[in-house]
C-alpha cells in the first residue's frame, strides 16, 4: 500500500466517523411519544436499529416512524401517533411490540400499569362535551367531569345531562397522575381537541 492509498482510505474512514458525529451534534427537537416499555430516551436511540417490526405488529396501527427531521438520530424510530390510533396495552394484555423488538429497545415491564408514556390535555374551547373520551379511556377515573357541588364525576352515567350540554361551560378534564398517555381518547375525539405530550416516568397506580 502506498502512502497515497493509505491517506485515501484513512480519509474515507474518517469521513464516516465525522458523519456519525455530526448526526449527534445537529439540533434536535426533543421528545416523541414512544411505545410502552421503551427504555429512557437517551438510551433508546443507541439500541433502536429502526427495523420497523413494532410498527408492523401493532394491532391498532398506532405506531408510525419519525419522518425526515433535522433530528437525525431519531429518523426512523417508532413513535405513537394518536392520529392513527391509540395504544391498547392498558385495555387488554397486549405486549406485541415489546415481544417483537429484537434489541431490547422496548422492554416488557413487570406491570404495565406502572408505565406512563405521556400526558393528555383537553383544549376546553374546542370541546363539544360528547364524552367519547370517557368511553375510550382504559383507566377508570383518569377522565373526569367537574361537579359544581362535590367530587368530580368519573362515569358518564352519573353526569346530569344538563351539565354536559354542548354549550355548558363545564368540560371534561384529565387527571395526569392517572393518565397513561395511551392516546385512545385523542384518537377517538371527534373535534380532535386532545393533545398528548410525551413523558416517561413511573406512574402512580390508582
Amino acid at each position: 500500500m502506498t502512502r497515497r492509498e493509505f491517506l485515501k482510505y484513512a480519509g474515507e474512514a474518517g469521513l464516516m466517523v465525522a458523519v456519525s458525529g455530526a448526526c449527534l451534534k445537529l439540533p434536535h427537537s426533543g421528545q416523541y411519544i414512544r411505545p410502552p416499555g421503551a427504555i429512557p430516551e437517551d438510551a433508546f436511540f443507541t439500541k433502536c436499529i429502526k427495523c420497523g417490526i413494532c410498527v408492523e405488529v401493532c394491532p391498532s396501527h398506532a405506531l408510525d416512524f419519525v419522518g425526515l427531521t433535522t433530528d437525525i438520530k431519531n429518523i426512523g424510530t417508532p413513535r405513537l401517533n394518536p392520529r392513527h390510533g391509540g395504544c391498547i396495552a392498558w385495555k387488554e394484555p397486549c405486549s406485541k411490540c415489546m415481544d417483537a423488538c429484537p434489541t431490547d429497545a422496548l422492554k416488557k415491564p413487570l406491570d404495565i400499569h406502572h408505565v406512563k408514556i405521556g400526558n393528555a390535555l383537553i383544549r376546553k374551547e374546542e370541546c363539544v362535551n360528547c364524552l367519547m373520551c370517557f368511553q375510550a379511556c382504559p383507566i377508570e377515573g383518569a377522565v373526569r367531569f367537574p361537579n359544581p357541588n362535590g367530587k368530580p364525576y368519573i362515569k358518564t352515567k352519573d353526569i346530569p345531562s344538563k351539565l354536559s350540554d354542548i354549550k355548558s361551560p363545564l368540560k371534561p378534564y384529565i387527571d395526569n397522575t392517572l393518565c397513561t398517555g395511551c392516546g385512545l381518547c385523542a384518537h377517538i375525539c371527534p373535534p380532535h381537541c386532545i393533545d398528548i405530550t410525551p413523558q416517561q416516568k413511573k406512574r402512580a397506580k390508582a
Binding site: 492509498e5 485515501k8 482510505y9 484513512a10 474515507e12 474512514a13 474518517g14 469521513l15 464516516m16 466517523v17 465525522a18 458523519v19 456519525s20 458525529g21 448526526c23 449527534l24 436511540f45 443507541t46 439500541k47 433502536c48 436499529i49 429502526k50 427495523c51 420497523g52 417490526i53 410498527v55 408492523e56 405488529v57 401493532c58 394491532p59 396501527h61 408510525d64 416512524f65 419522518g67 425526515l68 437525525i72 438520530k73 429518523i75 426512523g76 392513527h84 406485541k96 417483537a100 429484537p102 434489541t103 431490547d104
Partner: protein, 289 residues
C-alpha cells in the same frame, strides 16, 4: 425457467411477504430481522452496529447472526441480487426511466453516464472496506447506530411498512436519492460503497460453493459473460472472486453457447485453466510456424 425470471419472481415473492406481514401484522419482521417461529435471521451489519453502539454482545441475537454468516459462506453474496429490495426496485426504476425516455435522450443519458463515471474517482473493494470500518468506528465512538438510519434497505423497508399500515410515505425517501443516482448511472466501482454488501463480501471470501463454471470445450470466447456481469467479473477466465460475485447467474442465462453451468463444489477452482482464446491463438501461431 431462466435464472433471470426466477430472480424476478423470488424478489416479488419476498416483497409480497413483507407487504403481507405489514398489512396483517404477522410480525415476521423485515430485512433487518426476520423470524418464523424459532427460525430467525438477523442482518449482520445491524447486529455488528448494535453490539458496537451498546458495547455489549446480544447473546439472544447471536444464533440468527451466526446462521446468516453460515448462509453467506454457503451461498455467497446471493442476498445482493436475489433478495435486496434496493437492487430489485432500483432495477425496475432504471428500466422504467430508460423506457420512458425518447430514443435520442436515452443515448445522451447513457453517454453522460459513461462520461461522469470517467471523471469520478474509482472506488474499489478496499474503499468499501475502509468506509465500512470507518462507519463501524463512528458507531463505536459515538454510540449511535447511524448506519441503520441511512441504510437504503432500511429506508425502503420502513416505507413499505409505513405505506401498508397507514397509507403514507415518509420524507426520508429523499435519503434514497444518492444510492438511486449511483444505481441509475450504473457504476461498477461505486457499488462497493454499500456497507451491507462490503460486510457480506468480507465473509463471502470463504465461499467456495455454487459457482458458475465454464466448460472450456464449448466456450467460443465471445466474452458475453464478462459484459453482462454487474461486477465486471469474467467467468471465462475463471476470474470469479466470491467477494464480488453476487450469484445473479446472468452469465449462465446469457451465454450463447450454454457453456456455463452452476457447480455445487467445483474441483479445480484454484487450478489455472487457460483461457480458450489464448489457447486458440497459441494453436494458430503454432500452425503458422
Amino acid at each position: 425457467m431462466t435464472f433471470e425470471r426466477a430472480r424476478k419472481w423470488s424478489g416479488i415473492a419476498i416483497l409480497m411477504l413483507i407487504i403481507g406481514a405489514a398489512i396483517w401484522g404477522f410480525g415476521l419482521g423485515s430485512f433487518c430481522y426476520f423470524h418464523i417461529g424459532i427460525f430467525r435471521l438477523m442482518c449482520p451489519v445491524g447486529f455488528a452496529e448494535l453490539c458496537l453502539s451498546t458495547c455489549t454482545i446480544y447473546w439472544n441475537l447471536l444464533p440468527p447472526f451466526l446462521l446468516v454468516i453460515g448462509l453467506i459462506i454457503l451461498l455467497g453474496r446471493m442476498f445482493c441480487s436475489w433478495i435486496c429490495p434496493v437492487a430489485l426496485l432500483g432495477g425496475w426504476f432504471k428500466s422504467l426511466l430508460l423506457r420512458a425516455m425518447p430514443q435520442g435522450v436515452r443515448m445522451w443519458w447513457k453517454q453522460q453516464g459513461i462520461r461522469v463515471v470517467k471523471t469520478l474517482p474509482k472506488l474499489g473493494y478496499k474503499d468499501g472496506i475502509a468506509i465500512t470500518i470507518g462507519a463501524f468506528a463512528g458507531v463505536a465512538i459515538f454510540g449511535f447506530p447511524f448506519i441503520s438510519s441511512f441504510c437504503p434497505i432500511g429506508i425502503i423497508t420502513r416505507n413499505i411498512i409505513g405505506f401498508f399500515t397507514h397509507f403514507q410515505l415518509h420524507a426520508d425517501l429523499v435519503l434514497l436519492f444518492i444510492p438511486v443516482c449511483f444505481g441509475v448511472l450504473f457504476f461498477h466501482g461505486w457499488r462497493n460503497i454499500c456497507p451491507v454488501g462490503a460486510f457480506r463480501g468480507l465473509i463471502a471470501g470463504m465461499n467456495h460453493t455454487f459457482v458458475p463454471v465454464v466448460n472450456h470445450s464449448l466456450c467460443n470466447g465471445c466474452r458475453t459473460c464478462e459484459r453482462v456481469c454487474p461486477f465486471g467479473l469474467s467467468p471465462q477466465n475463471d476470474n470469479l472472486d466470491s467477494r464480488f460475485c453476487v450469484k445473479c447467474l446472468k452469465c449462465i442465462d446469457e451465454c450463447p453457447q450454454r457453456a456455463i453451468s452452476l457447480s455445487f463444489l467445483p474441483r479445480d477452482r484454484e487450478g489455472h485453466t487457460p483461457c480458450p482464446r489464448v489457447h486458440a491463438k497459441a494453436l494458430h501461431s503454432n500452425q503458422a510456424s
